[in-house]
């Protein structure tokens, strides 16, 4: 009975749109660094931390009024508590674990094992609770529950909460973590040196009444101060044997210091590419819409040069040298294989919302087929255009899901025909296409607003505006109606194909949008 109720509730919650939406929102707000409101949230939390620490510092030597103490002990703590609970909530899905266990048991013909599901839920949540970040979060809330003098020190843990919000600190931590074995070795070495030198200096100095080192703690303190190369000078050995020990500790100190520095530098150098990649991925996430060019060849360069004038372009190139060349040419190029799903996953490119079109411009049909198939394997709708190098591969590219193919040799053949057949007409069209003397060709879509004032071709008054209406393109029928008569009705979704001076076209377009 309980199992059945739990299962029903799990399915109900899991399929609830509001629940999913809310959880997704909080996940984005707390964990997704690409979410636009996360920065605002982070700044808010940082401001809370600073204000809390400021009050604490002030409290050390001055009186702090009750309102501020209330704010620090309750308001800030309650906000931190809410944040902690939200993070606990989004750290895993209880309902999904229950459903998964139930489906697993159904598949094997067994009865739903609730205890196994509860065990998984427990492990999932405990994993979050014992993570370093969660412990810091919890300690930062503690003053709210205990107002004992000693526990006030825990307010300092609020400072550690900054780790969550400052990305550079996270980068530094990850760099240090990458070399944890080396740092552990260094720590053990330094500890042994400190231990040995403390014992030695104590043995050499403790019985000398003139020596400032009288206890083992003073010996350890002297060793740590010396090995760290700080050397306050408040405690110094006075016996000859003690000074010999000091020489060794100083030399060991230099070694420890150099080793630490070189370790951090090496770790940063090794992580540099990764840090750069992370920055690139962040930059991509910020882009709203872009064209994705796969493969960097001469043609890619020409296409990118034209597209970047009023659009964003990203180039993916598998060959490192070509990717470097693309960067040198001033493009946003990445050394990633466009034929690998892993590349899109790593770069976190959202094909559906971010990519206007994918251009497969590699000089190898094989690579273009591979890229098209890769993209089609996770997105059916994005527009893919590819060049075709060998005619025999036309069907393969179409089969791979390419929407438009351009066979360069066929194009050259057709241009040659125009050259010899209608050279003047060809030049005229070429001039129009290259915006010669400010003449442009534009397509304007008819929307609901335009149709209110312009119901038929006669209403457009193209001749008066000194532009040519070449025709109307009905996209849904894929039909072009050349030179439509004045009484031709306009419909929403129609495209007007116009030729004229850029300025006149702009005025005409403004006029259309303004209405009569």
């Amino acid at each position: 009975m309980l199992k059945s109720l739990l299962l029903d509730a799990a399915y109900k919650i899991n399929t609830s749109k509001n629940y999913t939406k809310t959880k997704h929102f909080f996940y984005n707000l707390l964990e997704n660094s690409n979410y636009k409101y996360k920065k605002v949230f982070d700044f808010f939390m940082i401001a809370l931390i600073f204000s809390s620490v400021f009050i604490l510092i002030r409290e050390v030597k001055s009186h702090v009024n009750d309102e501020l103490l209330f704010y620090n002990n309750y308001v800030v703590s309650v906000i931190f508590l809410i944040e902690y609970l939200l993070r606990f909530w989004i750290s895993g899905s209880i309902t999904e674990v229950i459903i998964k266990q139930s489906e697993h048991d159904v598949m094997f013909g067994a009865e739903f094992n609730l205890s196994l599901a509860l065990r998984d839920i427990f492990y999932q949540k405990i994993r979050y609770i014992i993570s370093v970040k969660a412990i810091i979060d919890l300690l930062a809330i503690l003053p709210f529950f205990h107002e004992l003098r000693l526990l006030r020190l825990f307010i300092l843990f609020r400072v550690f909460k900054l780790f969550r919000y400052a990305k550079s600190i996270q980068v530094f931590t990850s760099v240090v973590a990458a070399k944890k074995f080396e740092f552990l070795t260094l720590f053990i070495f330094a500890s042994i040196v400190v231990f040995v030198s403390s014992v030695l200096i104590y043995v050499m100095e403790a019985n000398n009444p003139a020596s400032p080192i009288n206890t083992l703690f003073e010996a350890v303190y002297w060793s740590v101060v010396t090995i760290s190369t700080v050397g306050y000078g408040d405690i110094t050995p006075i016996t000859e044997a003690g000074r010999v020990v000091a020489i060794f500790v100083i030399i060991a100190g230099i070694a420890v210091f150099s080793f630490t520095t070189s370790l951090i530098v090496t770790a940063f150098t090794e992580k540099l590419d990764e840090i750069k990649d992370t920055k690139l991925i962040d930059d991509i996430a910020k882009k709203r819409e872009f064209y994705l060019i796969c493969g960097y060849e001469n043609i890619s360069k020409e296409v990118a040069k034209k597209l970047v004038q009023n659009s964003e372009v990203i180039i993916l190139e598998e060959d490192e040298q070509k990717a470097i060349q693309a960067k040198k040419d001033g493009f946003f190029a990445l050394h990633y294989d466009p034929g690998s799903i892993e590349s899109y996953r790593k770069l976190r490119i959202n094909i559906e919302t971010q990519v206007k079109a994918i251009l497969c411009l590699s000089h190898s049909d094989v690579e273009n087929v591979y890229t098209a198939l890769t993209v089609r394997s996770f997105n059916k709708d994005v527009f893919i255009l590819s060049i075709l190098k060998a005619k025999a591969n036309r069907n393969k590219l179409l089969f791979a899901g390419v929407n438009e193919l351009l066979y360069e040799k066929e194009l050259v053949g057709m241009i040659a025909k125009e050259f010899v057949g209608k050279p003047v007409a060809f030049e005229a069209i070429h001039a129009l296409r290259s915006n010669y003397n400010g003449i442009d060709m534009q397509e304007i879509i008819i929307n609901e607003r335009i149709i209110e004032s312009f119901k038929a071709v006669a209403d457009l008054e193209c001749h008066k505006h000194r532009i040519i209406l070449l025709g109307i393109y009905k996209k849904n029928k894929r039909n072009f109606y050349f030179n439509p008569t004045y009484d031709t009705s306009l419909e929403v979704g129609d495209y007007l194909l116009l030729i004229g001076n850029m300025q006149f076209i702009k005025e005409f377009t403004d006029n259309l949008h303004k209405g009569k």
Binding site: V303, A431, N437, F482
Partner: protein, 232 residues
């Protein structure tokens, strides 16, 4: 109409060019660089061999160069430039159409004496960008230009200017009166002007001018009868 086309280079471009231009020439000769003379290729053409040290005496003896147009379509750009230079040096008046794969080669081919350039990369890039930015207009123009639609483009020489009785091109409502679209007017100096440009607006239509018009075939023929004759 020129009678003979000389295509230098036997590759994928040869097939496409030959297919598209064969209706404009009485005879097409295909030459293969440093290759063997082949009696007939798959399209029935005799393929003759040539090399870059050629002094073209043999060619001069076999065809009347004044009736020829040459297509230099070697894929190796340095060899194509050399070939163009070699032909231009020998035949001063020959019309040479040359294939270029990049901007650098285009500049060199023009210096070498090519009359027209077929810029492969540039053209393909332009078409790709147009297809992305203005897909409808690109498709329509492409179909008109490459005769895949019942709307045609034509160039018509004005021989009966008095028909317009001193009117300016921009004064006439071409689409309403003739069911055609007049795109450009080319004056006696060969300057192309869009019909609504400032210059065309102040130019009376004269004999010898050329019109670039778009329209249905029957309307173009009708219009052609009214004003003179087609160039083709």
């Amino acid at each position: 109409m020129h009678k003979i086309a000389l295509i230098f280079g036997h590759n994928d471009y040869t097939f496409e060019i030959e297919k598209n231009i064969k209706s404009h020439y009485k005879k097409i000769y295909i030459f293969n660089l440093d290759g063997q003379s082949v009696s007939k290729d798959s399209n029935g053409y005799e393929i003759e061999a040539f090399d870059l040290s050629e002094d073209w005496d043999e060619l001069r003896d076999s065809v009347n160069i004044d009736e020829c147009e040459a297509f230099c379509i070697l894929e190796d750009m340095s060899k194509n430039i050399f070939l163009t230079l070699s032909l231009r040096e020998t035949f001063k008046n020959l019309k040479i159409v040359a294939l270029s794969q990049d901007k650098e080669s285009t500049d060199k081919l023009i210096l070498a004496g090519a009359s027209k350039i077929l810029p492969t990369t540039q053209t393909t890039a332009n078409i790709i960008v147009e297809m992305l930015k203005k897909p409808m207009i690109t498709e329509v123009l492409h179909n008109i230009l490459y005769e895949k639609s019942n709307v045609k483009i034509a160039q018509i020489i004005v021989k009966n200017a008095q028909y317009f009785d001193g009117l300016f091109a921009s004064d006439i409502n071409w689409s309403k009166d003739y069911n055609i679209t007049l795109l450009s007017v080319i004056d006696e100096n060969g300057d192309t002007e869009f019909i609504y440009s400032a210059k065309a607006k102040h130019q009376q239509i004269k004999n010898g001018y050329q019109f670039v018009v778009v329209g249905f075939e029957r309307d173009i023929i009708e219009f052609e009868k009214l004003i003179g004759g087609a160039d083709e």
